[in-house]
Symmetry: C2
């Protein structure tokens, strides 16, 4: 039996589990009429946004498909299949995002309703709702990859699938991120600060938009993001496995040259099995600790996966070094998560010191949080550095020369193969956040809101570990993609093409590359600022013009839909420029670089290709820096505020609290808009480079 079939079988199983869990969530009571009304409003807003977003993107996808089919299919002998593979990737990613969001929109009210019967009744609804998302992501992703690979046998077409998923993820992250923070900031600034309303107060015209934002930003966006990393890590390893050296090694050991291309698929299949077991192991008692339960799920999934992959590696007679690289990745992921947790956790020094510094005003709060955010990037960067070097040398030294970069890719696959579990834990967060909001808006009892609060707090703890995974995995994945790009250009040109920092093309590319993530972040954050400006005006207008709204007069309701509409319109307008920059600048560096290189000639005839390599390296470095810094400092400010709200340093309403609220608001677009988009951005850049490499080479050869 060919074990590579494990991949589609496991993917199919994931989809079945996902359907089963969907019915489980759906079978629960949707709550009181009031709850249903609120969750209905959120659902309508979210669906409207997603529908609009997808229609905007459809135009882009069609244009891109035409470009790919003509440019790559015709001019760079990739075949017409590249276009369909690209569309297929986009569609799979969009469906996964849509399904995840749909179930999250059902799970929120149901969790709030079940909270009336106790923590242990509410928790499984929220967590299993998240798991629907997790399994639809991995199921559709691995099934899609398997289909493209089995039909064509060509990893570069899988690359097309991956690019489709990535480009969609970039739009979904950027658009969703701008939407969610526009709503969040505006709701807070007018509602909490100017009008002194509590969080999630139904009088606030932005409250529904805020809840919609959690779903379109955190759920749909995050699902698309991990879909993208997951597929990219698999395809990077497949391409590295297709290298001549590894094919030869495979032929002589297995009599089958595709053995090293198949392995990431097999491991990904095992990862799904481990995640399914892990998800069903997550349980919480009546007075249990939901945060611990979530972490326990992650740890047990890791353990199961390490055991399964060891058995399969051993049974199939693959070199054990490859399994070692995978294990290194998994362990590094957990360690990175734990150190990240230190910098953002509410009971550790950085958060406490930041909270204390709020006593001397907002400026010192921001400087302190900013500084700890800068510090927090050291442990994960060191972790990625050590993990990649260890994975490299385990494979290069014990498996054979040429296996090093394959090992780095495999460590990324190791981290990402448990994505089913990771997404389940991550999507749990916005579900319980929303359910808390619904409980408050529906005027539930104190005890219910307290349970909703505990569920919410657990989401934040679990998020730290899973976020460590996501960033570590993205880092290793883009490194593997850089190696894949090199492999592609070397195979196609038949030359050794290195990315030596002292080569002026590489250096120039790197200097431009490091500016890109910064430029991208600036564009999306300015988008949030501009959008929030409009929305704040609207909220103020409603409070001014709707009589009785501020006082909460019976029957007086704000115009929620208008706010939802402003956030959506703005997000769709602001999403295109940074996304097009990401793709466009990458192509410009390659092609303009090649044009210059051809003027200079030997030994710089492939200068543009090298400039693009340097550009990727630079943008990976700077992308990792900003992603880590922004995610962590944002989380830190958020928790510093919560620390004060928990009654420390004067508690709610004190000057320290006001200062901390400003810090938290600054952190909002850091951690929920720019930071998480950067992972996707550097993945997209790396994929653009790899996918357009054949065209770039054709162009180079034309000019020589």
């Amino acid at each position: 039996m060919n074990l590579v079939l494990l991949a589609p079988v496991a993917a199919f199983a994931a989809i079945l589990v996902s359907i089963y869990l969907y019915f489980y969530v759906n079978s629960k009571s949707a709550g009181t009429p009031k709850m249903q009304e609120i969750s209905g409003a959120i659902r309508d807003g979210a669906r409207t946004f997603l529908k609009r977003e997808y229609s905007t993107l459809a135009v882009f996808v069609i244009i891109m498909t035409l470009i790919l089919t003509v440019a790559l299919g015709v001019y760079a002998d990739m075949g017409w299949e590249i276009g369909p593979a690209y569309i297929f990737g986009s569609v799979c990613s969009a469906i996964a995002g849509f399904l995840g969001m749909e179930v999250a929109l059902k799970a929120n009210a149901r969790t709030a309703n079940a909270a009336r019967e106790g923590l242990n009744k509410a928790f499984p609804i929220a967590f299993r709702g998240g798991a629907v998302m997790g399994f639809s992501v991995v199921g559709l992703a691995l099934l899609g990859v398997s289909i493209v690979y089995f039909l064509t046998g060509r990893p570069e077409l899988v690359l097309g699938f991956s690019f489709g998923a990535s480009a969609l993820a970039l739009f979904a992250k950027a658009g969703g991120g701008i939407y969610t923070k526009t709503a969040d900031i505006s709701a807070d600034l007018v509602g909490k600060i100017e009008m002194d309303l509590p969080e999630d107060d139904p009088r606030n015209p932005a409250v529904i938009a805020d809840n919609v934002g959690d779903n379109v930003g955190d759920v749909a966006g995050m699902g698309a993001d991990l879909f993208d990393s997951y597929v990219a890590s698999i395809v990077a390893v497949m391409i590295l496995g297709a290298s001549a050296t590894l094919q030869q090694a495979a032929s002589s050991s297995f009599g089958n040259s595709s053995a090293y291309m198949d392995l990431p698929l097999i491991f990904a299949g095992l990862g799904i099995i481990a995640s399914i077991v892990g998800v069903f192991l997550v349980r919480v008692g009546k007075d249990g600790n939901p945060g611990k339960a979530l972490n326990w799920g992650t740890y047990s999934t890791c353990t199961i996966l390490i055991a399964l992959t060891f058995l399969i590696t051993y049974y199939l007679d693959y070199p054990l070094g490859i399994w070692g690289a995978l294990a290194v990745g998994l362990i590094a992921g957990v360690l990175i998560g734990i150190t990240t947790d230190y910098y953002t956790s509410i009971d550790r020094t950085p958060v406490k010191k930041t909270a204390e510094s709020s006593q001397t005003g907002a400026a010192i709060n921001i400087i302190t949080g900013f500084s700890y955010g800068l510090m927090s990037m050291f442990p994960p960067l060191l972790g990625i550095a050590i993990a990649s070097a260890t994975a490299y040398f385990i494979c290069e030294l014990t498996v054979g020369v040429g296996f090093g970069v394959y090992g780095v890719g495999m460590s990324a696959v190791g981290m990402l193969s448990i994505v089913g579990m990771i997404v389940a834990g991550d999507a749990y967060g916005p579900i319980v956040d929303n359910s808390k909001g619904i409980a408050e808006q529906a005027g539930m009892e104190e005890e219910v809101i307290e349970i909703a609060d505990r569920l919410d707090a657990a989401g934040n703890t679990a998020k730290a570990i899973t976020k460590g995974f996501a960033i570590g995995a993205a880092g290793l994945t883009v490194l593997a993609l850089l190696a894949a790009y090199q492999e592609i250009v070397q195979t196609r040109t038949g030359e050794l093409i290195s990315f030596d920092l002292m080569n002026p093309f590489v250096l120039t590319g790197a200097l431009i590359g490091i500016a890109m993530p910064a430029l991208f972040s600036a564009m999306v954050m300015l988008g949030v600022g501009k959008n929030a400006f409009r929305m704040i005006e609207e909220i103020r207008r409603q409070f001014r013009e709707i009589p009785g709204l501020k006082e909460g007069k019976e029957g007086v309701k704000p115009d929620y839909a208008k706010c939802v509409d402003i956030a959506a319109k703005g997000a769709l307008k602001e999403l295109l420029p940074p996304s097009i920059l990401t793709i466009g600048a990458t192509l410009i560096v390659g092609f303009v670089g090649q044009l210059v290189a051809s003027q200079i000639g030997h030994p710089y005839e492939f200068g543009g290709i090298q400039a693009l390599g340097g550009y990727l390296g630079g943008s990976i470095f700077s992308g990792l820096i900003f992603a880590l810094f922004m995610s962590n400092s944002g989380g830190l400010w958020d928790n510093a505020k919560k620390y004060i709200e928990a009654g420390q340093l004067g508690g709610k309403g004190s000057d320290a609290h006001k200062a901390a609220v400003i810090g938290d608001t600054v952190g909002d677009p850091f951690k929920d808009t720019a930071g998480p988009s950067l992972n996707t951005m550097i993945t997209v850049m790396s994929l653009v480079a790899s996918i357009f490499a054949p065209l770039l080479i054709a162009f180079a050869l034309l000019l020589i």
Copy 2:
């Protein structure tokens, strides 16, 4: 006649001009007794701090000298001269900093006093005061370099001199930067915000400490910084000129193998001549525009230098491509300055938009300024990329193979050879800032303060151009130093050692390197935060406990000295850890990397050396990013506040103004502590790598 003698002759001339200008400033009236009293207090505070700082550093310098003499002199055959060269560099830099500060402390009151007679009387005192600093920096630096080079003939000993100057600069920047911002932030937060006092009000206990800070941070620190870049660029080119290829080329063209080592010295000498002429061309009429006068000085110095270097290159028969590289550097410096100006100038979109965003609160002000700060790094990075590539190819293609990196270094020398002029314009800033403070504290008339204000505003405009120069030059210098490091290790090992990003050692080094500037910035900024916390408590205590202070009762004075003392103690305590990190981490990466590499063996036997190369590359990238971002966003927030204070958007006291003050305070340690220290930090790292390279190689060979 050997034209290399031009270097010490011009350096000596610079020192003479500096003495002449000192007497010019000193001959002016020191003002009213009140003015003299205030400037006396500032002088005492500044001297006390510098004395303490230098005594702390003396211990470090002695320890370092011993390490260098033993480790490099004995174990790596560099000779005992490395120790004295190192001390000599430290001492020269310290003297230049001290002299510049002394004259600045005289010029401040004299400028304020002369302002009573008009702008055209006051301006030359401030500007020539700054020029004393400029010429003592270039004079001592070039004289020192010439002495070491003429006595020993060995560029690696000039490297020792350069390292001495750099290490001192790092301490001076970090210490001075922490001091100045501790005082500034504390004075503002308690004085302006809590007590509603105007800027520089004599009732504020921190007002003298704040004025002292401008001198020790901006004047002494900045002088040390440019001393360091100036020497480093010259030595980098000398080392590249010592390469076998270039020595051969020189021997065959000039019959003198040191011709390419001498050239940077000759060009630096010409730069001094051009700067002397430029400084004396700067004049301003009765109603003239001082900002324009300063820029006119910079532009004319550039033009004179381009002409002089062309003539000399032609006359001495050097290849014209080298002159081309120098010209590229100069032009790039001006262009980078102009684009930087766009992002920080008070009448351009970024500052206006940031000011407008203050209307929706401090958080949006910060997000907007942060975003424009991120954007602002793109033009200079592109400028550095294009300048370095152009300089490289001009030399590599028209002069000969192997001349490319020499050209990159020469473009840095081009930018830095006008440092005399740059420092004059830069030191002008804190002098007029102080003189404004003195005029206000001494209770001068409205018209005088208005003139002081105009002089101050001109300082900010000129600063943008000179800052562009400083950052661009630092970027090109560190790239040249990276090339010098490679040259040293290749010459000593006799092997081709590349820094290929796909080499796991290079990559690991780079991933660690990119975290370093962030870690360093975090440490110095947390230092400011901690220190400010203590000082704020003290200021509040004084207002509470000294009766009549707040009301400004006749004869009641705050305890200025206590605040000066707190700022100084804190700065000296916080300065060591980040500085030691900079040097220590660099050595750890090299030696630990080499230890690992020796375990792995061929083809990684020089892995540690390569890891160090990657580490330098990574820290250069990330250092440039943060230096640019922090300097620019800090300047932008500052001007957004000033824009509102000029009466826009509600003017002083409005909510928008309060929000903008918070943004400005956040930007303070960005632009005056962390940002400007980063240039020095990456220079120090590069020098540490180059200077310890022989020891690292000895270690590597021992392990093989």
